[in-house]
Symmetry: C2
Subunit: 313 residues, 2 copies
């Protein structure tokens, strides 16, 4: 039995929000359905934010309502506050993810709140969601957990404080996000270990960017510490509108190649996943499409490596 | 005290041999001198091969004779056979590195010999070098140790056999090369561990390519196993003329960023290193220049991370 690792595709949210042009709703829906068809188990399909701030997300309600009809797909929506979380619930999302910046500078720029105020907002979301008829998972994503383009170095203690506050607020899961891509592997191991000691398995995922080219090395460091859930974006689309210089998320295709080659089971068919890049070529022709495996082609050793297994060690 | 990791720049050899055009000898010399000035401790400056096969290397003799005059620089030259090693010795190289393909297909295509025949050739090189007045290090690089574009999967046992043969032949050091970039981190750990058990610290370095985007994750896996010497190429230049589909070496700038951020000491000034890319822009304008850190800029957290230390754990 190969060990399962969850890959959550965030391209339709984190990728598209940075795009210069807008992807048509129909293309977005077809793209999401095709990725689910390729075996992607979770997709963050959009965010319930002001369409004036991020017009690319103005069709999130329609997209969520459509995506929850895709068989087997876990549909995630981002919401920065209670109002957004309520909209995610009404649309039928299986999970809402709330960003909580660890650094003051990013928190102020991205959310216009202090980290402590946003932790309190997450508490209100949890309370409201728990009172509803339908269960919906509440995730909190600790933005700028490994560094901030505004504040520079982020103290480990600040991450621990926010993570502990979120666990106390009763979220189902916490993710640590390298929003601007400043993380390095030793830091990932140090902070993931410390947060695990603080909140245990409530720390579930890593959200990594490839700004400095260290994205997959950081994912490996996370794997080594027991992380089994990773965000990634097809073709490495994405960034953060308030983090100058931040480039895209780690590339889903390359992450899946690494995980499957190491003997982990992602449930994703890599050929089919790579084929999904055509929706980006058609729907967002001006955006750069990254990814080594898609460019070089899946090597002939891939199937054999999958069979060999081996996992982290 | 930060722990030392050696970065050996192989761009002037592995990078340039794949270039469509030729870099002028004077530019090559200035580039090498500038990298040494930036603190790069070792540079593979060329290869003593037939200029008919690889015309970009026809000035290797001149380049080696010039490079050994650069203060503090360890000058490495590749040679596929005894005759090349003799030329490297005559030119004053500090180290000769001999490629030995682990896979039959690559060995045949690249060297027109079987792996066993090439191990025997390395034995002749060692014997000849030891009989000379001046000491010169002899390194053997096990090509296609993690997979081959001709033969596909390469058995661990084949790597062990070649490595053991090279250690018996008396080489100073062995490197394992992911010539075509098929390696994955679990495999790196498995094979490095096995080779270490077989030949101990004679296994010194890893030569990694970024074909599938796993280059730095593989470097991290090597670091975890105690490897403290890595080849890399400025701007990720390079490939292998007989391995279809292979793209460049891991990017020196990104590797240095990762190592220094993790608290290792490379002795390299990253700003100065990035500045060396201008020799590629000027001397080989048609070649793609890769590298995340050079594109995104060194983040403001870099100096602080260096200070924090931490190493692998």
């Amino acid at each position: 039995m190969r060990e399962r690792v969850i890959v959550c595709e965030v391209g339709p949210r984190d990728g598209l929000q940075m795009a210069k042009s807008r992807m048509a709703t129909g293309t977005k829906q077809a793209w999401i359905a095709a990725m689910a068809q390729a075996g992607v188990p979770e997709i963050e399909v959009g965010s319930f934010v002001s369409p004036k701030v991020i017009p690319q997300m103005s069709d999130t309600d329609v997209v969520v309502r459509d995506a929850v009809l895709v068989p087997g797909l876990r549909v995630v929506a981002l919401a920065p506050n209670l109002r957004g979380a309520q909209a995610a619930y009404e649309a039928g999302a299986h999970r809402v993810t709330i960003p909580v910046s660890v650094s003051e500078g990013h928190s102020r720029a991205n959310l216009n709140r202090t980290p402590a105020e946003q932790v309190a907002e997450v508490g209100r979301v949890v309370e409201w969601v728990r009172a509803q008829a339908r269960p919906m998972e509440v995730e909190a994503a600790c933005s700028t957990a490994f560094g901030c383009s505004f504040d520079g170095v982020v103290a480990d203690e600040a991450v621990l404080k926010v993570a502990a506050g979120l666990a106390s607020a009763g979220v189902d899961m916490v993710a640590l996000a390298d929003t601007v891509g400043y993380a390095q592997p030793a830091q990932i191991r140090r902070i993931v270990g410390a947060v695990r000691r603080e909140i245990g398995d409530v720390l579930e995922g890593l959200h990594l960017h490839d700004t400095m080219g260290l994205g997959l090395a950081n994912a490996l460091a996370g794997l080594d510490c027991g992380i089994r859930s990773f965000d990634a974006a097809l073709a490495g689309l994405g960034g953060c509108p308030f983090a100058p210089g931040a480039s895209g998320n780690i590339v889903t295709e390359d992450l899946v190649f690494m995980l499957e080659s190491m003997g982990f089971d992602t449930g994703i068919n890599l050929d089919q996943l790579i084929d999904c890049r055509r929706f980006l070529a058609e729907g967002l022709p001006a955006e750069a499409r990254h990814g080594h495996v898609a460019q070089a082609g899946i090597p002939k050793t891939y199937r054999a490596q999958q069979g060999l297994g081996g996992g982290v060690r």
